[in-house]
Amino acid sequence: MELTLKQNTGRSKIHPHKFALWVGCASLLMMFAALTSAYIVRQSAGNWLEFTLPEVFKYSTATIILSSIVLHASYIAFKRQNEMGYKVLLVLAGLLGVAFLGLQYQGWVQLMENGVPFTLNPSGDFVYVISWLHAAHVVGGIAILAVAMIHAFGLPFRVTPKRKLRFELSLTYWHFVDALWVYVFFFLTLYR
């Protein structure tokens, strides 16, 4: 559904929807900040199983960063009226997103095989829960990219302000979940 009212006071520099998305991201960030703080608090209380993170998480981190870059390239192609580049890169970004989830799954399997099954000790459970919660946000992001693809292939190619805005919203969110994982990854690597 669209805005039922056109509001324009002619003074805002950033589109309200974009701004709203930023605010929403800040809020989601708090969820992860809370979990990582809980992690630190719990860790300092002892009875904390020590283990190293599975290697796969490094590859998944690289994958999601790459996906962000590719989506950004798609956006630039879109703005430059390069239809082919826009479509191909968009699909590629989506596929990399799916690949990220696949690698995360490998990570969880490896973690289990390394002797840190779910429910063994909070130190492992935190890794599972935080990465699952993050994966859920990536699933949301992939859904958004799927909608973007439906637009890309279903609608005639045209660079309108409305479609540009839509793309920018998807892009911002995708960068956000990317940065979020990078944060989680470094956090979990550093606070062992």
Partner: protein, 617 residues
């Protein structure tokens, strides 16, 4: 007089005509769709004015339910030996009737369920959604000169998530095992282990679902409020020209968006502990002589996560009330609010500090006493901006020619309550004194006065004041004043004695007191409190009747600006229109508190500064 007000109105219309901002808004562009369809107008409305009323009426219904629950458990506390068999038609099996004597007792399990539901409902559904949801929706677009919220659609969703949260919670009341009964703070292990108590099973599951839906509602609303305030202010409405109401709603939304997600994270770990066998919060628990295999968790961890929301939450409740009170007081004192900027800065200071005091709820939970000191200091510091606000309200009233009416009386009552309750906070904030006071009726007295009653007073002030803007009619003034005096006296009668109970060590959350010798002397006081509570509860019927009666039969609003207010919501037509202003948007020329200036009673915000006039702040 009538002539004078029409003249003022004509002049205001002219000002908007001349100076207004033309945003090429066409009222009828979508207007027909909105007017013709009952469903889109009254149910799935995207108009902020309608959504505000939906929040308010839903809040009123929840307030009645929540307050009625407290009357029932007060009966138990005041008259533990009387038969409650007459409540059986309402409560069914929760009244356990002795077959031989016919004496009915409130089930102990259900007593706890009532206390828990009372707290949850009043804190979240009434004083968060009903208060901030109602007035943020009503006043943000109106007072900053916007056609509607930044996203009316998300705004509608915000209400419906709240509604859904309510449906789930309401449904949980009818479970055969009863609703959740482990206290509104839902501490583990009661909230984690389904076998811990009756309410910890399905009741707790529904409680969690309901509150998660509720957080979604708060988030959607908050994103909208922040975006609207920052992006959709009309020309001339700089931040320093925003009424204190808007400042309060804006900062409240920021606090909510930063703190509620933390609660969700806390809930997430709770859900894993409940359903998937993790042990984030559980450690070495014995139930019925059996050791559980949950080890390695910490119940304190939940308390940290909960109170990181919980303390900001109390300010989420009180800041909007403070905003409403500032506005109502200034208008009816016919004086500029004293220290406008100090008011804004103290809201900001409170907002900031509210994030670093949470552990004052945990002094007695086994946190490190050295760390407690840190929280003691910040807790005491938060009293400073609170005191600044109190000082400014009193200075605003000082030597003012106050128009006493239901709205302004409730605003004054708010100040009284906030002082009384704030002072006891300073006692509790000292971790050494808290050793005696914690989990006693002193705490109950503290937070009911400073948050419960004060926030209700702010809400009543807002309702009586903006009722004409919501319904185009006035509420009955006489009933309003009786409502005020009755509630003021009643509330003090209920909560003042609780301080003494608390100091004497009467613990909160007990089903009855007579098994302890040292608690015997307080039977009379407990009866007194219960009687006061019953009377005060029934007094609220006056308000409810007045509210609904006036929607259809209240005195009609004949002028746009009945209170002689400076703010721009009173330049909108009496008969509300989609988009708020039929033609151009008003532009704002001055700050919102020009009362009794240059020999004039008030100068509306849309009037340009005179040649020799400077804008005062």
């Amino acid at each position: 007089m009538a002539h004078a007000t029409t003249a003022v109105q004509d002049q205001e219309t002219k000002l908007i005509e001349e100076l207004g901002y033309d945003d090429h808004f066409h009222e009828h562009e979508h207007g027909d769709k909105f007017k013709s369809n009952f469903i889109t107008k009254y149910i799935f409305s995207q108009d902020h004015k309608m959504i505000a009323r939906q929040f308010l009426i839903t809040g009123i219904i929840w307030a009645i339910i929540g307050a009625a629950m407290s009357v029932i458990f007060r009966l138990q506390l005041g008259f533990p030996d009387e038969s409650l068999a007459w409540l059986q038609p309402l409560l069914g099996k929760w009244i356990e009737v002795d077959a031989a004597t016919g004496v009915g007792k409130l089930s102990q399990e259900f007593y706890y369920a009532l206390v828990t539901m009372h707290g949850t409902i009043i804190v979240f559904f009434v004083l968060t959604a009903g208060l901030s949801g109602t007035f943020s929706n009503l006043l943000i677009p109106f007072q900053i000169g916007a056609r509607d919220m930044a996203s009316p659609f998300l705004n509608m969703l915000s209400y419906w998530f709240f509604f859904l949260a309510g449906v789930v919670m309401f449904f949980s009341l009818f479970l055969s095992t009863g609703p959740f009964s482990g206290g509104w703070v839902a501490y583990p292990p009661l909230s984690v282990l389904p076998q811990a108590s009756d309410g910890s099973g399905a009741g707790m599951t529904l409680w969690l679902i309901s509150l998660t839906l509720f957080v979604v509602s708060v988030a959607l609303g908050g994103i909208n409020y922040i975006t609207t305030v920052l992006n959709l202010r009309t020309k001339g409405m700089s931040m320093w020209r925003m009424p204190l109401t808007v400042w309060a709603f804006f900062i409240t939304a920021i606090i909510a968006l930063l703190s509620f997600p933390v609660l969700v994270s806390g809930f997430l770990l709770l859900m894993f502990d409940r359903g998937l066998g993790t042990s984030f919060y559980l450690n070495e628990i014995f139930i019925g002589g059996q050791a559980l295999d949950h080890v390695g968790g910490s119940p304190i961890l939940y308390q940290h996560l909960f109170w990181f929301l919980g303390h900001p939450e109390v300010y989420i409740i009180i800041l909007p009330a403070m905003g409403l009170v500032s506005e109502v007081l200034s208008t009816h004192c016919r004086k500029p609010i004293f220290g406008y900027k100090a008011m804004v800065y103290s809201i900001l200071a409170i907002a900031f500090l509210s994030f670093i005091v949470w552990a004052h709820h945990m002094f007695m939970a086994g946190v490190n006493p050295f760390i407690s000191n840190f929280f003691v200091i910040f807790t005491l510091i938060i009293a400073v901006p609170s005191a600044v606000k109190v000082f400014n309200w009193i200075s605003t009233m000082y030597k003012a020619n106050i128009r006493y009416n239901a709205a302004s009386l409730f605003a004054i009552g708010f100040v009284s309550m906030f002082i009384s309750g704030g002072l006891t906070g300073i006692f509790l904030g000292n971790s050494a004194i808290d050793i005696q006071m914690h989990d006693t009726y002193f705490v109950v007295a503290h937070f009911h006065i400073v948050m419960g009653v004060a926030a209700f007073f702010g809400m009543f002030a807002g309702i009586y004041h903006w009722y004409p803007k919501m319904y185009g009619r006035f509420m009955n003034e006489t009933l309003g004043r009786i409502h005020f005096w009755g509630t003021l006296i009643g509330a003090y009668a209920i909560f003042w004695p609780m301080h003494y109970l608390g100091m004497a060590g009467v613990p909160r959350r007990y089903y009855r007191f007579d098994s302890f010798e040292y608690l015997r002397p307080f039977d009379d006081l407990n009866q007194f409190i219960t009687i006061a509570a019953i009377i005060t509860f029934f007094l609220q019927i006056l308000f409810v009747v007045n509210f609904f009666y006036s929607i259809w039969k209240g005195k009609k609003m004949t002028t746009k600006n009945p209170w002689g207010s400076t703010t721009i919501e009173w330049t909108t037509p009496i008969e509300p229109v989609h988009g708020n202003w039929p033609g151009k948007l008003p532009t704002v020329q001055r700050w919102p508190y020009d009362y009794s200036k240059n020999g004039r009673d008030f100068i509306p915000q849309i009037e340009p500064l005179g040649p020799n006039e400077s804008e005062v702040h």
